[in-house]
């Protein structure tokens, strides 16, 4: 056990301590001798700075909408694949493809071949609706990022929820039908409580990944236009690798850790309470 423990400790905990340390210094990598103690300057700048507030807000909006939509869609698709349909196995196989496709590749395909206002397929298909030359990526940047991420995370939710549905005893549903429960009642009273832990698990794991979304933003919008899709990971990238402000980037890193912990706790609690209210009815 020790080697793995030491390895993980060396490459995660010590850097994190160093991140906290650097966050109290002002240091521009490109300016030699610029390393000096700055106290809480980096943190006060975070509070006063518009960019960080925008990034926090964007991160929250992106994470919550992607998780909420993909859980609902994932549940719907999982229920479809769990019912009596032709070609279940093949459907599942095709369905998980968006999750397996390299995110950078998926984002580029969406941007250049599906959404491009001149040559993309979607504007062409929407021509009869009068939406032919809409530049989706630039006019609705956040919605585009959310859509591409939902496309990627719905299969993930579907897989987990489907596993939950498959652990259900079909005889229980059958019995409820005999007792006169309609499909909706059976879903709310029997199926939903059963898959609840699976939904929670999917939403929790998913949000921990989605909060770190970077690939598709880099490829689709590069954080823009302006700062419309700049989330915390992307802001960190801009500050650390475009601005070379080591101290400022470290302060963002510390905040990112705190937000991750909050999101994880919050996501879990919210879901928990929602379902408990549902179950009590």
């Amino acid at each position: 056990m020790l080697p793995a423990f030491i390895y993980v400790f060396l490459l995660t905990q010590i850097p994190f301590v160093l991140t906290i340390y650097y966050s109290f210094f002002s240091w521009n990598l490109l300016k030699e001798g610029s390393f000096r103690f700055a106290g809480l300057d980096n943190y006060t700048r975070l509070v006063t700075n518009e960019s960080i507030r925008t990034a926090v807000l964007n991160t929250v909006v992106l994470t919550i909408s992607v998780i909420a939509i993909s859980v609902v869609l994932g549940l719907a698709v999982a229920m479809l694949l769990n019912s009596e349909v032709f070609g279940k196995g093949f459907m599942r196989t095709l369905m998980i493809a968006p999750f397996l496709i390299m995110p950078t590749a998926g984002a580029l395909i969406w941007k250049d071949t599906l959404l491009n206002p001149l040559f993309g397929l979607l504007p062409y298909l929407l021509t009869p609706l009068g939406l032919s030359r809409v530049d989706w990526v630039n006019r609705f940047p956040m919605a585009t990022v959310v859509a591409v991420e939902v496309w990627r995370w719905t299969p993930f939710m579907m897989l987990i929820i489907l596993a939950g549905l498959q652990s259900q005893n079909p005889e229980v549903l059958e019995a409820s039908r005999v007792d006169g429960a309609n499909a909706f009642q059976a879903f709310r009273r029997i199926t939903l409580p059963l898959v609840r832990p699976f939904i929670e698990l999917g939403a929790l794991l998913g949000s921990l990944f989605v909060v770190q979304t970077y690939d598709s933003i880099f490829m689709l919008t590069y954080g823009g236009p302006g700062e419309d899709t700049t989330n915390i990971p992307f802001l960190l990238y801009l500050v650390a690798f475009q601005g070379y402000s080591i101290g400022q980037a470290s302060a963002i890193g510390v905040v990112a850790v705190i937000i991750t912990i909050v999101v994880a706790t919050f996501a879990l609690r919210t879901l928990f309470s929602i379902f408990q209210v549902e179950a009590r009815r």
Partner: protein, 275 residues
């Protein structure tokens, strides 16, 4: 009469609905494949070309051009880091599952918490370290980072598989005088072959598709497949067919592995929680 044909009718109805939904989700992948089989004028036509004579010209172009080194870098980074995860992770998982030490729970939670520490937490120090050790644009840096990312997951997953082995087997082996290393190699490894497969699959997915460290820690020599795709973002004109061919090739290993090992995929993604 009605009772006889209504189940079939509902099956057909739901099948149609299901296939429509699946088609919508799969369509971008299919479109990527189709675009890669077009010529450049066909890929950048308005209205989009639907019917065309497929050609492998763009694949040839990608494979004979500068793509292969990127692909090879991806393969090296993913495979070596996956191997490291197995070598380091299996003994740790074994210790946690079969011979629990005190505070096993704490150690487990420590491992898993590091998986969800945002990369923001350690990015700057790791970057400075890599710079000082001359490891920027060196594949070794990516290998070490991917091992760090995947090791916690590997330990959890492998442990969940090890817990399913009946303890008697180990007792019997120990009575027979098997040494620790032999115990692991001869008994554990064959028994948790599916676990090793699941762990490798998840490590492969995460490291092959990884972008943040790849784009910031490498530039040319050690750049991986997703970095090759970055060059298509701008400045190169309209190379949609070539882009689609490259995207297809870059996605192929993980897509195939995930499809082949679908069973292991769920278990891996949920860190062993869902079987």
């Amino acid at each position: 009469m009605r009772t006889a044909d209504s189940p079939l009718r509902s099956k057909v109805l739901w099948s149609v609905v299901g296939w429509l939904v699946v088609f919508v989700f799969f369509f971008p992948v299919l479109w990527m494949w189709l675009e890669g089989l077009k010529t450049e004028p066909q890929a950048a036509s308005s209205p989009p070309t639907i019917l065309f004579l497929p050609t492998l010209a763009e694949y040839q172009e990608v494979l004979s051009g500068d793509f292969p080194p990127f692909f090879i870098n991806s393969a090296i980074a993913s495979l070596v880091s996956t191997l490291l995860v197995l070598v380091l992770g299996l003994p740790a998982a074994y210790a946690l599952a079969i011979r629990p030490v005190g505070k096993t729970r704490d150690v487990l939670f420590f491992f898993i918490s590091t998986r969800f520490l945002p990369f923001a937490a350690s990015l700057v120090p790791l970057y400075l370290l890599a710079r000082d050790l001359q490891l920027l644009d060196n594949i070794l840096a990516l290998i070490l980072i991917y091992t760090t990312i995947n090791l916690p997951l590997g330990v959890w997953l492998l442990r969940s598989f090890l817990l399913e082995i009946p303890n008697d087997l180990f007792e019997a082996a120990r009575v027979d005088g098997a040494q620790f290393r032999h115990e692991i190699l001869r008994i554990v490894v064959p028994l948790i072959a599916p676990g090793l497969a699941a762990t490798s699959l998840i490590c492969l997915i995460f490291s092959w598709n990884e972008f943040f460290y790849a784009v910031n820690f490498t530039s040319s020599v050690a750049a991986t497949a997703p970095i090759f795709l970055v060059s298509f973002i701008s400045g190169r004109g309209l190379f949609y067919a070539k882009l689609a061919a490259a995207a297809t090739l870059a996605s192929l290993p993980v897509l195939l592995a995930g499809w082949i090992a679908q069973k292991q995929l769920i278990r891996g993604l949920t860190m062993g929680a869902v079987k």
